[in-house]
Symmetry: C2
Subunit: 80 residues, 2 copies
């Protein structure tokens, strides 16, 4: 089964890359965008058909490899 994960910087951590995107959008005339945060997205294909079990596995993987929990949060997306 496919599990989608989003890893984002914690909201109290500065995101200079997002800031640059927001400024670029301003310069391009997209005045409605007042904040941008960038993160990482992962799609895992797992040999596991039970969503709950796959989710637990994915959390383990986030903690061990994908996210730096000091400055980042992870979110397992709902099955879709």
């Amino acid at each position: 089964m496919k599990i989608s994960i989003v890893v984002t910087l914690k909201k109290e951590v500065l995101d200079p890359q997002g800031k640059v995107i927001q400024q670029t959008l301003q310069n391009m005339g997209e005045k409605a965008v007042f904040n941008v945060r960038q993160g990482k997205y992962f799609e895992l294909d797992l040999n596991e058909n039970n969503y709950e079990k796959a989710k637990i596995m994915a959390e383990e993987i986030c903690k061990k490899l994908l996210a730096n929990l000091v400055i980042e949060d992870y979110k397992i997306m709902d099955n879709s």
Copy 2:
């Protein structure tokens, strides 16, 4: 309102970064993971309270700046 966007490589495009993550997981003993794809995640704060309008705006921004449509797909996430 907040709009979340995911930009991924088209599935026919090689994703070496995802491949490395998958191999690393194998080496760490996570044998159940047989494929990993990596992408980018963006969270935009928009001065627009109508979801449909915000979504159209976000698509425009994806096409103009966030995604390279030659090799990437974008997806506007459902409001949550």
